[in-house]
Amino acid sequence: MTIMKGRALRATATAAMLAVFGAPVMAEELFYVSGAVGNAVENFKTLVKPWEEATGNTVTLVPMPASTTDQFGQYRLWLAAGATDIDLYQTDVIWAPQLADHFVDLTEAAKDLAPQHFPSIIESQTVNGKLVALPIFTDAPALYYRTDLLEKYGKQPPKTWAELTETAKFIQDAERAEGNKDIWGFVWQGNAYEGLTCDALEWVKSHGGGQIVEPDGTISINNPNAVAALEQAKSWVGTISPDGVLAYQEEEARGVWQTGNAVFMRNWPYAYGLGNGDDSAVKGKFAVTTLPVGKEGDPSAATLGGWNVAVSKYSTKQEAAISLALYLAGPEAQKQRAIAESNLPTIMALYEDPDIAAAQPIIPQWKEVFLNAVPRPSAPTKGKYNEVSAKFWSAVHDTLSGRGSAAENLELLEVELNDIKGSGW
């Protein structure tokens, strides 16, 4: 039944695409570069197949390391050198202002497609009136929890970070007493990289500690609420979280989680689909909820993530590349991505889609979460965002690993951020 439906869908898609993009003129070979987590490489092949069939072009995925910081470094090198090898770049939501000069303006090409997306996301990819990249999926992290373990010990999913700490400790101790030696309470991303900025921004924001640099450009990070948030996170390391969490990125955290060795995990929606895969030890034993808050009643904070596709100014096959970008950002591809990889669509209508709701029930629930998501301060800090983020994650990483207290490190961070800011961002 589903296969039939899939085939029919694909046939319509092919026909529609022939109508939209015209018959293939000359087969081009495109190169698409993207970070690869989970099954991204295999999924990409299936994802672009209809487009390849419709246009006669082929796409090769060039996989990058999972660390977004490393990806960005490599992108910047290629783009600075004007490399013609890569035609399309998959870009993080925060990169648009820093890489804008190297990408093609997609305003004209996407004039029909762009209004179907959430306006805030399109806006985040628009720099000085130029549409730098088209959104292909958005991201907002969730708290994953083990339904079986919580039920076994009669616990509720935690509402506040304090509750999470308590529940995690309780279940971890109880499970270990029963001989489950490798169990941990809570895993997250503590390596010193962009992901830690996301995690820490959530702790700080949900404790009422602001968002590092406010939209008007003021540096707000040095405040008692932020200090309290970081001190709490520090108390997790070595108690409910393994010491190694300080070197974890998304995939390491998922590794511990998916082998059944964690009660809670903070991660992006992609881990939902993988966690329910056949090789997963936690298949059908977990659920997700919004991230905890500082005090009861506060709004939960989830860092806005998300990925976009941009066409390189240096590509020699721009026409084909733009056509692929439009396809990847269009409803067909987003729907497939939502079903196959539990990625959140950026097209509003897809949240009402019954197929998606059936395959990935979390997605319709997720609309609210990401509508209230906190952006990282990439807009106010412009080209200096990376440095600001690196200073922030270093201060947090130092605090977590016991090099200075949160208060000392945040005080120093404020001074450093002021230095970077200079006379203005």
Partner: protein, 316 residues
């Protein structure tokens, strides 16, 4: 006949021939070594950005040190030379280089002495011991990263089963052990290289000296310190310089193995970070230039203090 050589004397002809034989090598050296070096030094004196490599303007030594007096009379210092992050990286690198080269030399010497002895299957052992050196650093770094992983790593598993530790240790994540992890992997990787260089030196030592010592009944420890060590000193010195140069520019191992934390960041890592991640290309170039200067100083000091003969002729 005489018109062919343009009336040059024999020695002039030989010099000219030598020049043409050397020319390709000199040109290659200029393009791969001198030109990038000069260009980096030039970049360090400009305000070049990575996003605009050809638009930099000359700003003098501001990337190294700039002193500004504010209207209030406060003096502000900026630049690499007053950047604590840079000096932390220098300290990390120097500490790493000294410790790793020390252990590699001692262990390499021991391995070389063993391999120098006559035993069955010596050729096989010599080849086998080179394996760590033959594996590309990135591959071995990643391999060790998995072995040292706190949750699924085999090293924790072994130590735990042997009862040597009571709890899994986060080797590369914890700032206390991250540097040890880097050191251990580097020593594992580079000891064979040292052993090989020292072994080459050992094989140059004439056998009859040992026979004479044996006849005189001198104990082996004394033989080692009075005969072996002085005779292999030139080879040892060259090996140490090679390793020192290598260790001072360590990048890959630190970059792959440990989180990007101040506890392990080295000069190369911080310079790359500024150049690529932060778009401060010129600032990173200034750090690269300083790295070059520091390595140059180290090597000259070592050569001068150790009176190392790099010409290869040596006083017999």
């Amino acid at each position: 006949m005489a018109s062919n050589d343009g009336g040059l004397s024999l020695s002039q002809q030989r010099q000219r021939a030598a020049f043409w034989f050397l020319a390709p090598m000199l040109a290659a050296l200029f393009f791969v070594a001198a030109w990038p070096l000069l260009r980096t030094i030039w970049f360090s004196l400009t305000n070049t950005l990575l996003s605009d490599l050809y638009g930099g303007e000359f700003i003098g030594f501001d990337n190294y040190l700039s002193i500004r007096v504010l209207e209030s009379g406060r003096v502000i210092y900026r630049g690499t030379l007053v950047d604590p992050a840079w000096w932390n990286a220098v300290w990390n690198t120097v500490r790493f280089a000294v410790v790793s080269v020390f252990f590699e030399t001692v262990l390499g010497l021991i391995v070389a002495l063993v391999l120098n002895a006559e035993f069955k299957g010596r050729g096989l052992v010599r080849a086998a011991i080179l394996i760590p050196w033959a594996i590309p650093t990135i591959v071995s770094a990643k391999m060790w990263a998995w072995m040292l992983n706190d949750q699924f790593g085999i090293i924790n598993d072994i130590l735990l089963n042997l009862g040597l530790i009571s709890q899994k240790i986060a080797w590369t994540a914890s700032t206390d052990t991250a540097m040890y992890a880097v050191l251990m992997v580097d020593i594992w990787k580079t000891t064979p290289f040292m052993a090989l260089l020292i072994l080459a030196g050992l094989q140059m030592v004439p056998r009859d000296i040992y026979e004479a010592a044996k006849l005189d009944g001198i104990n082996p420890v004394k033989v080692f310190f009075r005969i072996t060590l002085p005779l292999i000193r030139p080879a040892l010195a060259v090996a140490i310089i090679f390793r020192m140069l290598d260790a001072l520019r360590i990048f890959d191992l630190v970059y792959v193995l440990t989180p990007n934390s101040a506890a392990t960041k080295t000069m190369s890592v911080i310079s790359r970070e500024n150049m690529i991640d932060f778009d401060k290309f010129a600032y990173g170039a200034a750090q690269s230039t300083l790295l070059f200067a520091i390595i140059a100083v180290f090597v000259s000091l070592y050569i001068w203090l150790g009176k190392v003969d790099l010409s290869g002729e040596g006083q017999r």
